[in-house]
Symmetry: C2
Subunit: 238 residues, 2 copies
């Protein structure tokens, strides 16, 4: 499905983070790309970011596509969705796919803020008391609200978020659920009964032939405690 | 510039919030719309939101445009930008405008989390200690980082974010700076010297003929302590 020179993806090499949402779309779309910081190190990324002007990214991930430099995860996916047919082409479907992606982005940001409620510039160990309070609210209110929303979307349509075919937000919802399962396994077990459609979708993405090689490869970075989804047992509960 | 039946905008009636970013684009684009919750009350909005399916919003604001129901602020603005010429039409310009809007959305979310670092479902008075710590980091690190980014974008191009003509992210940057000035006047005064391009852009939007009637009208909702940008003097400092 690829055309022209390969894309350059720039994202921190050590964590799945927001870069993984882009990587899943590139992989599922069989799109040629170079994962520059994984090849050359995150120091190279930091230097590259500093030298960019014009279509200047605020932060990684960003994707260089010929003359274009695209930043913001959802914006990159909007572009890839249109260019490689990873989302519906009609205005309603295109917009709803993007809306779903932005909603995934919102809960991803909240999942990060659970362990960094005071400041992204401080360590977790310097905000543990605040994180414990934030985690309770996230577990009790926010995870059910967001995943309940995606469950409702799947009950409107299904079996995929946009209906009969997979699109890029399905890949992102998969990554979100994987991350929540990693960070909050006890809570996710409690909620599983009300999330049958969301969990079935997660399983369906996990089995996509388009992703089989990638998910089994070393290119797929495991979740870890430097990333967005972190397993701190003291922040999880039933 | 309007075509077809007017749009229906749905957003909470009592605060500018995220709805204001949409309202500014509708007003500057001379686009016919009904501000449904301001006409009929926020209870009507809550009921409307509950009954929607299909293109189901996660939260307000959402815009009903014929058969389409669009949610997520940046997604609505992407649509209005294309439909009403409020952003460049070429792929690079369209994408960069959207990227800037998503970056505004990120700092808007962080500005909200300053007074709600633990949980959106708790009152400010129940998280004041955490908010004081979060505010210091936001003032010292995040405001300079984000506004410095927009300053750099304006130095690449200018006088508007996308170059010679205004586009929807300019309206949003105006609203962001107005909000930060309202919530953190002492800090913003300290930072002003390094933000000459951003502040000049804010002033330029404030004087746009397309916005004169609106900004002088009662439709323009003042910032207040139920919204995203709140003036709690104890959270501000030089």
């Amino acid at each position: 499905m690829s055309e022209g020179p390969p894309y350059d993806l720039w994202y921190w090499a050590e964590i799945p983070g927001r870069g993984e949402f882009v990587r899943l779309a590139l992989e599922a779309g069989a799109t040629a790309y170079r994962d520059r910081a994984r090849e050359e190190g995150s120091e190279t990324l930091a230097r590259d970011l500093e030298t960019r002007s014009g279509q200047r990214p605020f932060a990684p991930p960003y994707l260089v596509a010929g003359d274009l430099c695209l930043a913001q995860t959802a914006n990159i996916l909007l572009f890839l969705g249109e260019r490689h047919g990873l989302a519906p082409a009609d205005p309603g479907g295109r917009s709803f796919a993007h809306q779903l992606q932005l909603t995934v982005a919102d809960i991803v940001a909240e999942a990060h803020d659970v362990h960094h409620p005071v400041a992204v510039g401080l360590y977790y160990r310097d905000q543990k008391a605040e994180a414990a309070r934030a985690a309770k609210a996230f577990r009790d209110e926010r995870i059910p609200k967001y995943l309940g929303y995606f469950e409702a979307v799947l009950s409107d349509r299904g079996p995929w978020l946009l209906g009969n075919d997979w699109s890029y937000p399905d890949l992102s919802l998969f990554q979100l659920v994987e991350g929540l399962d990693y960070a909050f396994p006890r809570r996710m077990k409690t909620l599983a009964g009300g999330l049958s459609r969301v969990l079935a979708l997660r399983d369906r993405v996990r089995e996509m032939p388009e992703l089989a090689d990638y998910l089994a490869s070393e290119r797929r970075i495991p979740f870890n405690e430097d990333g967005i989804f972190r397993h701190y047992p003291e922040l999880d509960a039933e």
